[in-house]
């Protein structure tokens, strides 16, 4: 059995059940609905499920992850220092904007394993950057006044020593 997913732009992706099972909302919608409604909303590939918030490029990237994990259990919980397999880290990459889109889509589509991986990817990209570097990376405009910066320096100064003892 397969199912058609339709991206924000209307592009269609035909995926098998094990791949679709990795996507929480698709699983609920296509296979879970039969006991709520008495029938499944999409039981064959003649019907499609529209994922209105996911672009074609992000959906195709997400389907690569789902294909990889169709027969394996991904990591779905753990602390912020957990280690991911090499394939996962190569997959998520270092393109901050793309990872953010994957994060948002993984949240929207209910894919906890991919959500966790995207968080890990973002943390890795941020690693070791100073505030100015983060602003440049993410296009953030620093909106603190000089006075506020002084106050924050005072607040964090002591602890900064703990973080970077010299």
């Amino acid at each position: 059995m397969s199912i058609t997913l339709i991206s924000k732009e209307g592009a269609q992706f035909l995926v098998s059940k094990p791949v679709a099972d990795r996507i929480g909302v698709v699983r609920d919608c296509a296979y879970g609905a039969d006991f709520w409604l008495g029938y499944a909303v999409a039981t064959d590939d003649s019907m499609g499920i529209t994922l209105a918030n996911v672009t074609s490029s992000i959906l195709s990237k997400i389907l690569v992850w789902c294909e990889h994990y169709k027969d394996m259990e991904p990591l779905v919980d753990g602390d912020s220092n957990m280690e991911f397999p090499e394939w996962d880290m190569a997959y998520i990459g270092h393109d901050m904007n793309q990872i953010l889109f994957v994060l948002e889509a993984a949240d929207y589509l209910h894919i906890p394993g991919l959500l966790l991986l995207a968080c890990k990817g973002i943390a890795d990209v941020l690693d070791g950057r100073n505030p100015r570097g983060i602003c440049d990376l993410l296009g953030i405009v620093m909106d603190f006044s000089h006075r506020q910066e002084v106050d924050m320096d005072k607040e964090n100064g002591y602890w900064r020593w703990f973080l970077h003892p010299t």
Binding site: S80, L103, L116, C119, N130, L138, W159
Partner: protein, 489 residues
């Protein structure tokens, strides 16, 4: 706008909780106002977990006002780690000494002796100044052997005037001595103004009361402590939103909570009471608290508890167990007078209330209408009523989590497996008390192929081969690297 800033707040919060480096969190917080606000709760010095005998750290907090004034939440427990929390409240921050948010200059201390009271001796004189310095403290979670050193802490907070803690959690770490009732009363006298309050102590012993003439003198210590806590909450916590109370002792294992069930907390949304004597007043109490979303009461006894048709209109989790009133479960599942259903997501059922043949039919009739129930907790210590569980599964196909409280679980596998046939979408079984080995997982998984977690075991990839060449499903103990293959279907 930056893609990061356009994330929904809850997703941004989730993301920040996965940034392991405090230095990176600090850098993020110093980029703009929005991230400064969003990272505040994640900065490690805003919320810390410490050991109750950590004299160097308490000494630091008492001597450095500027540093202590940044603290918002503090958890003190035996492990120095957030997982020590007894309740399913939200997770606390990583510990200072753990790998997650390690501060370079911080070194964890080891207890000097095996005597908890001797170890906290150095901390006690520091705590009043710590309280005065922690000017923005909002939350205190104590999981401690010795309550007495903290009297000075709460006394200093009270003397600061107008300062209140939003959340207070006080839990006894079982040790060589029980907590004296008089000490507990002294601490309670110093509290007030909280929205979230939790107290758990298992060995409360009779001690000299400050004001023995104030209450009934013949009450047993745990019952008396429940009365004292209720007085605190009704007199000085008018906006109380969540209450968790687990108080008992060997002398008084099932205390009376009559004062609590007679009290009224107008803003109460979450109630968790453990080990209390059942009384008809439970129904009256529930009727009088329409904002309750989560109700958990373990009540022993034979009192007939009923609620009115319009009771608990917002309840999502109904966990009232050890009760012999089948009518209570049907009443909470029945539609409200306006025809709406209660938004139930989790329901606990005591099997013993449905011993009579056919008694579960009415419950199942109502259960079929509740499509939102995702979790069932089945309280059946002997597991002799598993057949009823099957009927309940058939009536609630949306259930994904089943929690079983039973002794001798491994001896009742055929009955449980037969019941599991009726749960088409069950993903996990949580086990309370009963023992379950990895060999049992295969039997249960045959009955319910959708299962991925059973007790401590979770399913790994299929098709593994064990050292004897047997093929089957692999089950791994959660939190451990080792795993086992058992014969599968």
């Amino acid at each position: 706008m930056s893609a990061l800033l356009s994330l929904p707040p809850e997703l941004l919060d989730d993301l920040l909780s996965h940034v392991p480096s405090p230095a990176d969190l600090l850098s993020l917080s110093l980029t703009c106002h929005a991230l400064y606000t969003a990272t505040a709760d994640h900065l490690p010095w805003r919320r810390i977990c410490v050991y109750e005998y950590d004299t160097p750290l308490f000494s630091l907090l008492s001597s450095t006002r500027r540093l202590a004034s940044q603290l918002r939440r503090i958890a003190v427990n035996e492990t120095g780690h957030p997982t020590a929390s007894h309740s399913p409240m939200d997770d606390f921050s990583p510990s200072l000494s753990g790998p997650a948010h390690k501060l370079s200059a911080y070194r964890p201390v080891l207890p000097a002796t095996r005597d908890p009271r001797a170890n906290t001796g150095g901390v006690e004189p520091l705590l009043p100044q710590v309280a005065r310095n922690c000017a923005q403290l909002e939350e205190v979670r104590l999981n401690v052997y010795d309550l007495r050193p903290w009297k000075g802490f709460f006394q200093a907070l009270k003397e600061e005037g107008g300062r209140t803690l939003g959340r207070v959690e006080i839990v006894e770490e079982p040790g060589p001595w029980g907590w004296a009732l008089g000490d507990a009363e002294e601490v309670l006298e110093l509290l007030g103004g909280h929205e979230h309050f939790a107290w758990a102590s298992a060995t409360i012993v009779q001690g000299a009361l400050l004001s023995p003439g104030k209450g009934p003198s013949n009450l047993l210590p745990a019952s008396e402590l429940v009365r004292l806590i209720t007085t605190l909450l009704t007199d000085r916590c008018p906006t109380l939103s969540s209450l968790s109370l687990y108080v008992f002792s060997t002398l008084n294992p099932i205390p009376s909570a009559l004062p609590t069930f007679s009290a009224r907390f107008p803003a109460l949304r979450s109630l968790s009471l453990g080990h209390v004597r059942s009384t008809e007043l439970i129904g009256t109490f529930l009727d009088a608290h329409p904002l309750l979303e989560r109700v958990s009461i373990q009540c022993a006894g034979h009192a007939e508890v009923t609620i009115s048709p319009s009771s608990l209109p917002l309840v999502r989790e109904f966990d009232v167990v050890w009760i012999n009133s089948p009518g209570l479960y049907t009443q909470v599942l029945a539609p409200l007078p306006n025809g709406d259903l209660r938004p139930l997501e989790v329901l606990s059922i005591t099997a013993g209330a449905f011993r009579e043949e056919g008694s579960v039919d009415g419950l199942c009739g109502y259960l079929r209408a509740h499509k939102g129930i995702k979790g069932i907790r089945w309280e059946d210590t002997s597991m002799q009523l598993s057949e009823r569980l099957g009927a309940i599964g058939a009536a609630s196909p949306g259930v994904r989590t089943l929690s079983i409280l039973a002794f001798y679980l491994d001896r009742r596998l055929p009955e449980i497996a037969a019941a599991l046939h009726h749960f088409p979408n069950l993903e996990q079984i949580l086990i309370g008390r009963g023992r379950l080995e990895v060999e049992h997982c295969a039997d249960l998984q045959v009955a319910c192929p959708t299962l991925v977690r059973i007790g401590p075991w979770e399913r790994c990839e299929a098709g593994g081969v064990d050292e004897k060449g047997r093929q089957g499903l692999a089950w791994r103990k959660r939190g451990r690297r080792d795993w086992a293959i058992v014969n599968g279907p």
